[in-house]
């Protein structure tokens, strides 16, 4: 498998005027082959979201990114805006947690889709429009022919996230970064979105970095997982192996704390007693 994304020693820190900054990402290495799906798993403050934003070049000052992010051979850290613009969209697509925030409320979803297609893919207006309808159909929007002229607020949360996915994949990116795309959604809606993403990666050969805090969700979409804690990757491997036999104490605790695995509520905190030392070594670092 060819390497699509190669991250070496990624460090991100946010400067403040009130003293030294604490690194949000502290030396992360990552390698992703074409068509592969990686789950970036971690709790709040683990640096998983900052990592995904750094991959898209979306960390703004006062955030400072160091290290190397190579996408398909192109270095993205400190790259000029022109390079980043070229990579975004056609190279890397992104789906965020808040679908309402990522769509422009004053344009119809069709207008937003066709504009991207016309500008970036050089399509004619008519082609772009029919392609938009196709895309909306592909992400499971019923009655796409009519819904293409609806405004973002006229969609439910789950449908809006589908529209966001359609926009992210419209330019046929080779990598999709999904940052907690189902966290704000109900479980029944979430199940549909996860199936959709899974299907898209299988059908198009698109690679995906799926950022999540939910172990069960990670298991549904990805074959590989990278567990993050305190700005570092503490464990990486195939999701089956990691979940069956976690080597890092933090991963063990995460797994035992998940209610899906426990038989009694007392089981939830069972992972804690023995790994205080693991905790300490990572705090100290």
């Amino acid at each position: 498998m060819t390497t699509l994304l190669e991250v070496e020693d990624l460090r991100v820190e946010f400067l403040t005027d009130a003293g030294p900054a604490r690194p949000a990402v502290n030396g992360v290495d990552l390698r992703l082959g074409a068509g592969e799906t990686l789950a970036l798993l971690g709790e709040s403050g683990s640096g998983k979201s900052v990592t995904s934003r750094a991959l898209m070049g979306l960390v703004d000052f006062p955030g400072v990114v160091r290290g190397s992010i190579r996408f398909d051979g192109t270095e993205l850290v400190d790259a000029p805006d022109r390079t980043l613009r070229r990579v975004r969209g056609t190279g890397i697509g992104m789906v965020f947690q808040d679908s309402l925030d990522s769509l422009n409320p004053v344009y119809t979803v069709g207008a937003q889709l066709t504009e991207a297609l016309q500008v970036r893919m050089g399509m004619t207006r008519a082609d772009a429009r029919s392609r938009s309808v196709e895309l909306l159909e592909a992400v499971g929007i019923v009655d796409a022919e009519q819904r293409v002229d609806a405004y973002p607020h006229q969609f439910s949360g789950g449908m809006r996230q589908r529209v966001c996915i359609a926009m992210a994949v419209a330019l046929r990116p080779r990598l999709l970064i999904a940052d907690e795309p189902t966290t704000a959604l109900d479980v029944t809606v979430q199940a549909g979105i996860l199936r959709l993403l899974r299907g898209l990666t299988e059908d198009t050969g698109m690679a995906m970095v799926f950022v999540t805090h939910d172990l069960a969700v990670a298991k549904q979409v990805a074959e590989r997982v990278m567990v993050m804690f305190d700005g570092r990757a503490v464990e990486e491997g195939s999701i089956g192996n990691v979940f069956a036999a976690p080597s890092h104490p933090y991963t063990r605790r995460l797994l035992s704390a998940h209610p899906g695995r426990a038989r009694h509520w007392r089981d939830l905190t069972k992972g804690e007693a023995r790994d205080d030392d693991g905790e300490e070594t990572h705090r100290a670092g």
């Binding site: 709040s44 109900d186 199940a191 969700v217 995460l254 209610p259 426990a262 038989r263 509520w265 905190t269």
Partner: protein
């Protein structure tokens, strides 16, 4: 629905809450809800967003005024009391909110947050409020050092513990837990759930547990109510509902929740 046992803590009958919408359109958030909660029980209400489960919790406590129906707490009809007469009863029924980042006043210290309710229920004011606050903090697993801190200095799990200490200070009988851990990380969530369950056993508390997380409900509740569009679609013991779901919606909910 459970049969009328001698002395349920809460008896809810025909509770209905209607909101006025835009353009005179009404939304029935909760429709004809009836249930009992026995002392020391943990009754869970599960449902997705918009199911009316949060409105049900707030209507029981009259934080939202129900449109119709009765809520009896140990025989007293709370819905028949005026606001002044209701106030002394509030201490017996306390609520833990979903988002500990929003439910604690950002400018108050932990000491103030936990002791504030005693200024309202003056008969509960301890002789040494500081010492009592420290005691309550210990009870929820927090070191006394946090007493002078502000919520902004605490993590989500720590905030939720402070919120629990604040409620416990009123020596309540019933805790209404509105998604008490869904805003927390999974490892912190495990600790707060363990704390809540320990407290329930040691203090003999009665819980009304509102949640969307089926896996979690299965671990903590003895009985479950499944809500959908404001109505109860299924009620029963936790074991029965999970092993043998009878309603179509319950089955789809169980199927959709991701497994590890």
């Amino acid at each position: 629905m459970q049969a009328d046992q001698p002395g349920p803590v809460l008896e809810v009958r025909g509770l209905r809450t209607v909101f006025d919408g835009r353009g005179g359109r009404e939304t029935v958030a909760v429709d004809d809800a009836s249930f009992d909660v026995a002392p020391g029980q943990c009754l869970a209400v599960v449902g997705e967003s918009g199911s009316g489960k949060s409105t049900l919790a707030r209507s029981v406590l009259r934080l939202v005024e129900p449109t119709a129906g009765r809520v009896r707490y140990r025989g007293t009809d709370l819905t028949a009391l005026d606001r002044r007469a209701l106030r002394p009863y509030r201490r017996h029924l306390q609520m833990i909110f979903q988002d500990p980042y929003a439910s604690l006043h950002p400018r108050q210290s932990v000491l103030r947050l936990v002791s504030e309710p005693w200024r309202i229920h003056r008969d509960l004011m301890p002789e040494d409020p500081c010492a009592r606050v420290a005691e309550l903090l210990e009870q929820v697993g927090m070191p006394p050092a946090v007493i002078d801190m502000h919520p902004t200095q605490l993590s989500g799990g720590q905030r939720q513990r402070v919120a629990i200490a604040r409620a416990l200070g009123l020596e309540p009988d019933v805790l209404v837990l509105d998604e008490p851990v869904s805003a927390l990380d999974v490892s912190i969530q495990a600790q707060v759930i363990a704390l809540l369950m320990e407290l329930q056993q040691s203090l003999g508390l009665t819980y009304l547990f509102i949640s969307h997380d089926l896996a979690l409900v299965r671990l903590v509740a003895s009985e479950v109510i499944v809500m959908h569009h404001g109505v109860f679609v299924e009620t029963g013991t936790t074991e029965r509902v999970f092993e043998d779901p009878r309603d179509e919606y319950t089955r789809s909910l169980l199927a959709a929740s991701p497994h590890l």
